[in-house]
Symmetry: D2
Subunit: 337 residues, 4 copies
């Protein structure tokens, strides 16, 4: 079988991780080049992984006829244009979330993909996580009957630097966007309306930067399911990533992943080590699985598991969630243009 030849655009933390996963864990792929505006980052990545090409600009990658697909791992503001360019160059595309914060730009990018007939997968890696996949399987397979209620909890161990917060797009588009995707994935229906309760509890500086750090969003789905997502920028015990669906015939719920199963009983307590601390430890395998899935979509010519609409809808929900907070009333997704 011919390997899928990959170019990686953006050699930051996430781009380098995907490149490593492809090199070491996905035998069906071959990473041939990497680009980064900081050339030394591209060169370091290429050296470490034995890649043939390292570029400052992404054009050599798009111009390379032997490259089949690209990973867009550059900064968010470049995603939509890179999708357009890559699509025009006939490359299949894996793009980190979010596509963009502007719906018009997203739509232009999706139109370009459609026109070019290339594959597009968005980096909502949690769909490939063992725990959340198991809930989805229970819902889709009828193990718990018809779904009625959803609950997603998603809390970071500590807030990011305030400089990041300022350009992050805000808690709904930066952090909860993963959970909006998860909500659609688990329930298999579109969100129609949201209502947001939120506040600044972790750090006043986050509030000064115009953002919120703690939020509960209530969701109403097209199929009648109701649910909530709660986010907090700080859970001192670590990365808190759980979900639960109640249905007519039962419930499926997950707990956090732990580094080991040991329980230590002493004269004071029975205790366990803290859950896996953050996304690189917690979602390690999901990143590998999403790459495998993307590569299979290319080799098998089938739809990606997380397509363009899956990249667009969470942005719409995120905007609605913020608007609900600002207007202090429930907001329908149809209000977001």
């Amino acid at each position: 079988m011919k390997k899928v030849r990959i170019g990686v655009i953006g050699a930051g933390r996430i781009g380098r991780m995907h490149a490593e996963n492809l090199v070491f864990r996905v035998p069906e792929a071959e990473v041939v080049a990497v680009s980064d505006l900081r050339l030394e980052a591209a060169q370091a990545c290429a050296a470490a992984l034995g890649l043939a090409g390292a570029h400052k600009d992404h054009r050599p990658i798009l111009d390379d006829k032997k490259i089949d697909a690209v990973l867009v791992c550059s900064s968010t503001d470049t995603h939509s244009l890179l999708i357009e360019e890559a699509a025009a160059a006939g490359k299949h595309i894996f793009c980190e979330k979010p596509i963009d914060f502007e719906l018009a730009r997203i739509d232009r990018a999706l139109a370009a993909v459609k026109k070019a007939g290339v594959k597009l997968q968005i980096g909502f890696n949690r769909r490939f996580d063992h725990n959340f996949k198991r809930i989805r399987q229970a819902v889709a397979g009828g193990e718990i009957g018809k779904p009625w209620m959803l609950r997603i909890t998603s809390r970071d161990p500590a807030p990011p630097p305030i400089e990041y917060v300022k350009v992050s797009g805000g808690i709904f588009l930066d952090m909860m966007i993963h959970d909006f995707d998860m909500a659609r994935f688990l329930i298999g229906s579109e969100v129609e309306e949201v209502y947001t309760l939120a506040g600044v509890m972790v750090d006043p500086a986050i509030g000064k930067a115009g953002d919120l750090d703690t939020a509960i969003v209530s969701l109403k789905f097209a199929n009648g399911v109701i649910g909530t997502i709660d986010n907090c920028r700080q859970a001192v015990f670590g990365y808190d990533q759980r979900a639960e669906v109640l249905g007519s015939q039962g419930m499926a719920a997950t707990e956090n992943d732990r580094p080991n199963t040991a329980r230590i009983s002493t004269a004071r307590t029975v205790s366990e080590d803290l859950p896996l601390n953050f996304f690189l430890e917690r979602y390690t395998e999901s990143y590998v699985n999403e790459m495998k899935s993307f590569i299979r979509s290319v080799t098998e010519g089938r739809e990606t598991e997380v397509g363009g609409l899956d990249g667009r809808m969470p942005v719409v929900i995120g905007k609605a969630a913020r608007l609900s907070y600002d207007l202090k009333r429930p907001v329908k997704l149809s209000e977001i243009k």
Copy 2:
């Protein structure tokens, strides 16, 4: 020590349970009489427990100078008047929840209690449950820092008969009222605003009766905490009673109680027996503990642990929750008169 002499008004399921608990588990109390509009119920109860008096009317109980305190366990519509009468007779009062569905009647009852200077305890038994007490202890004792987010899940194993639903006051005043009390108890602050998402999922007949069977209420507290309560009239796996508080320094969360700790591993699954099925099994000890607490309030002359305001506020929240559903917008408690 002189025993507290008790009269029980209402010999239905809950009245009889309290009487039994007092007789068998609370040595500091003595049940001397019981009344019930169905005289045979009062007589059966008296015979089974060896009580001296069994009456059709409650007046002999209120007129008995040797009786120190009464338990009001009759139908909800009689609670407020019985409180007024019992207070006028100088009896300490334990009253099942809710006091009433009308705030004016509640306020008249509370005024009567205040004027008479008697003790009043409302039957929010879950405050005396081992699990919820432990969360409250963690919050109040600072184990998890400043509270930020609350989640309460409360689901019944199966809906009550439709005839009961029709007179129940609706899901918010019949079922979620316990959770409104729990929310105030766990957080130690008043609820200021609610928003309700709800539907009829379990049984269309419940909808025809004008009620809802599945609901999520978002809460905003005076101290800034945000939270949710979810209720469902049917969780096929049993009584689902959990709570969780996230704070600045940690999280306290409880699981359901189980009939045993056994795990059975077979070639198909690792499984446990279902959680305790309903309130009589699940909250057995809490009912004993609330009686002990009431009796101690009387003997020690201190405030009851669940007083008149604790009886009034959940009714206000319940009315706001229903109004929010009807108006499809968040409702402040100050809107409820």
Copy 3:
């Protein structure tokens, strides 16, 4: 239905607990008298529970024609003779474990019971515990196929006073005797051979008193099952009471009981409160259930659930376990005369 009228011989901790359970929790029984060599103990018990009679000697109880059954809760050295006397007086008998440390005395007592045709139940309360009953149910009901391996763990929170150790009969007859009973109960087959590994780890004073404080006994059953029991006089985290059976079609295993289900997550650990500390908290309900079972045996005229042989065999196993330790080799039960 006529109540079973009970006399309690011995008003120490365990006698008083049984009396209270009968009075408050077993409506089918009526405790009419109590005796204790320390008359004031008998009187205190009678006063607290409203019993008609309090005696120094047990004879008035045995002579009382209206008494149907007695509980033998006096010191171990008196058990066998009291069984003989009570049987001769035609009383049904509940006797605390062990019947005696001498097989000849046990056999004389059992012969007296047989001759009199009265019921005898031995106080192996753990058979009535929710967790161990569930394992037995899994084994007996075929949920895990044919049993192959057994493991029982039984550890006390702290060693008893050294004065008690000296007269206790040693770890095998005082503490592990419960587990020998449990082993027979769970597997439903007789033990044929034992091998003991043991030491003094908790406190050298226990060794000086001629006893051991930590022991593992390997068991071979008549039906081919193999297993182990481990005991330790000190588990600083509390009463450690677990069992596990592996079978051809699965495994049944229990965990310790906890005072609540709360989990507290902080920046350092995820922790739970310690297991229930000792037998009075841990086995509370089992004591009530064993009384109910005894009373039912009397009223229904059926065999008790824990009969004379069940009282004798654990003593034989305990003697074999000690002999194995002394001889440093496996010992067959047939070697114990």
Copy 4:
């Protein structure tokens, strides 16, 4: 840093897995050649992993001056001679367990290693498992005080083919050998005496082949600790791999690893998916970690974490365990020559 250049001897399942782990997960190593008596196996491995050399004989690997270290992954009967040859060739050696079934051959191999001054690591991968490492850390770090009792449970999902059983060395040298290593590792003291209870429960054919399929071995350690290991060739629910140490200040215990944390509650049970099924899934990361550790020993010039004595002692214990079963008495390790 110069990479450690590796030759792999034996391209069966385990050899190929190590080679893959080195190629994809251990950047500090470079696999340059592989040999296998079945040349096509060596060639397939080399092709799949892009290795330069594929040989039928192992001599080219030992003769290659550029190769620093070898992995001995051939059949057990060749291990000791290959160690001798590799040591003579100045190669560092990683050898799969066991070194041999004959102590004389083991000793000759260890002498050769000592004389050559090369590193030797034995493939007891479980020492590198997250769960067992955590117990060892608790013991070594004093979290649970002085260790008193050990329990190891180790059960396979299903027995191997009977042809394998016949050449396996028997349950004690093939299967429980891992647990003997684990016992020494967790307690940090040598085993002095063993006693074995065992039987044929899973399959009579195993008995006809002269082996046992279910066994409990009691252990006495030099430092006074007592413990048990239980093995069974069949646990229908999957690979059952647990350990527990009780100490003077507490207990450390592990549970099985599961494929996900989901719990599914239905009207019948609350259930989880079965534990990871067998060693390749369960111990995946431990195999990577043991390779990393071996490579670090080479690059840092320090002792391996599992040395020659660690390879020899479990064989001695295994022989003693079998002898105890044959003689039906405890056996001291000093009896094994």
